[in-house]
Amino acid sequence: MLFSVLIYASEDFIDALTPEEHQEIMKKHGAFHEDTKTNKNFAAATKLMSTGTAVTVNKDSDDFVVTDGPFAETKEQFMGFYLLDCANLEEAIDKVKILPLDHGRIEIRPVEYFEGADFTNAERLVINAS
């Protein structure tokens, strides 16, 4: 079963990290990559650019309205996500334990439907929960 691992953190905090601290966090992600790839749980990793780069698209009656950013309403921002192929929730929980959990929040949410493109040769990877 496919699980998404959603990562939330404070961008104020991420921006304030020293290079050494940043490296320590990335090292934990590296270990997570290695473990999940070795054990064939790894499906995808996505790291998002800063929320400052984002726009929000809305529809106002018939007109599309593009507004800048999400306003920083929350103290934590959505930073990125992993997709893991695990036997059950228990295994997914076990897997994420080596991620840097001290900073921010990690949410595990099962995937109902997944379809992805392999951009290099345009083959598709489809995973259906049912």
Binding site: A16, E21, S50, T53, V55, D68, G69
Partner: protein, 424 residues
């Protein structure tokens, strides 16, 4: 290790917490002292595995209490409390109105007010930079002094004088109207770019780039973009800083010598920063309200699109500099445009353009270096040498001087009698 992470939390919370304290007390000095007290409390009370749910809110509450204690202490010392130090707080339950103070809209105004205070037009540029780094970024006086290669005492005096000047100016704390708001954004963006530029092309000393200053400027710009994504000039500012910073590895040789855009190894440019800068710029330009930072970012972005210097889109750069000249008609912009025009139409026309810049840029090393390069290209060796020597005389950093000496050496390496120059 633990205290290191805690100090990172303090650093991350600082701008917002300090901005809230500045509003509560209407006094930057007191807000700083209160934040300092709150930080000391935090270092004792916090544990890495058990942080408060909202460290910023925690610091604001602790800082308010500490600030009120300081006011009481000072009023006992002076027997009467100075009126302008009185907080608009009744002393009962500080956490009660915290929900309101943590409201995002209030935060946004607080931060803008704090930033604007630190780079208020009554302050000199060097004071704006020093105060922004000290108050908002939270750098120590020693760190700032080191970055500017001055004695700690000198920097301390600079900051004290800046604060005195602010006090003397008796800044109004009322809400700005939209015109005043736009002016604040512009002042704040300019000050952040000053900080970045001081790091990017240090004006004096042996180091050409001071990454701390660049990184602090980028951190402040990111905070502003996060709080005010609807301000295209702030996105332009961040885009510009990121794209410039993407070249930091390529700009210096292993010996610490400056490498010009022409000779940089473009594979060393940080493509991640370039991608982020480009998308920020695209998002900003959707607003169709161009400003100097967006145009400068577009200029920087144009360079990133050329895989080799020879592929540079000079016509596009000329269009952008022309637009910049309209918005910001300064001699330095005109000088940059002359460099671009030399590429498009040859050095003779560009040299003519330098004539009217001679007076305003007389003391500017780059002007003479550019002039020397044009003259060298026109094979006027003696005049070129004079211009390079003038540039050498005016340049502030060792690396800049080495670069100009190299130009002089290139001149000398050809036979002056024959007027032959090594082709670049």
């Amino acid at each position: 290790m633990q205290s290191v992470w805690l100090s990172t939390h303090l650093k991350a919370a600082r701008p917002r917490a300090l901005a809230a304290l500045n509003r509560a007390f209407g006094d930057i000095n007191l807000a700083e002292d209160a934040f300092q007290e709150a930080s000391l409390k935090a270092l004792k009370a916090w544990r890495q595995d058990d942080l408060p749910k909202d460290p910023t809110a925690w610091l604001i509450v602790a800082g308010r209490n500490a600030g009120i204690d300081l006011i009481r202490k000072r009023s006992r010392e002076t027997l009467s409390a100075p009126e302008d130090l009185e907080p608009d707080y009744d002393g009962a339950h500080p956490e009660e109105d915290l929900t309101q103070s943590l409201d995002q809209a209030v935060y946004r105004d607080d931060i803008l007010r704090l930033l604007f205070t630190c780079c208020h037009p009554v302050l000199r540029r060097d004071q704006q930079i020093a105060l922004s780094l000290k108050v908002i970024a939270g750098l120590s006086v020693e760190e700032i002094a080191r970055a500017f290669l001055v004695q700690t005492k000198t920097m301390e005096q600079r900051i004290t004088r800046a604060k005195k000047r602010l006090q003397a100016a008796r800044l109004a704390y009322e809400e700005p109207d939209s015109k005043a708001r736009a002016e604040r954004f512009s002042a704040v963006a300019n000050a952040i770019y000053l900080v970045f530029n001081e790091g990017y092309s240090a004006s004096t000393g042996s180091e050409l780039i001071r990454p701390t200053l660049c990184e602090e400027a980028i951190r402040l710009a990111r905070l502003l973009v996060r709080l005010f994504p609807e301000e295209p000039e702030l996105r332009g500012l961040l885009a510009l800083c990121l794209i410039q910073h993407s070249r930091r590895q390529a700009r210096l040789s292993p010996e610490g010598e400056a490498i010009t855009l022409e000779d940089q190894n473009r594979n060393q440019w940080d493509r991640k920063l370039i991608a982020e800068g480009n998308i920020l710029l695209e998002a900003a330009l959707r607003r169709a309200t161009p400003g100097p930072f967006q145009i400068e970012a577009a200029i920087a972005a144009t360079h990133t699109r050329a895989r080799h210097y020879q592929e540079t889109d000079w016509a596009e750069l000329d269009r952008l500099y022309r637009a910049l000249e309209v918005i910001r008609p300064t001699p330095v912009v005109a000088l940059n445009r002359a460099v671009v025009l030399a590429k498009l139409n040859g050095p003779l026309e560009a040299l003519t353009r330098l004539e009217k810049l001679e007076a305003p840029l007389e003391r500017y090393a780059s002007f003479h270096a550019v002039k020397g390069a044009f003259l060298a290209e026109l094979r006027q060796a003696a005049s070129a040498r004079a211009a390079f020597e003038q540039a050498l005389h005016l340049s502030g950093t060792d690396a800049e001087q080495r670069h100009i000496r190299q130009k002089l050496a290139d001149l000398n390496s050809c036979d002056p009698a024959a007027g032959q120059f090594k082709r670049p």
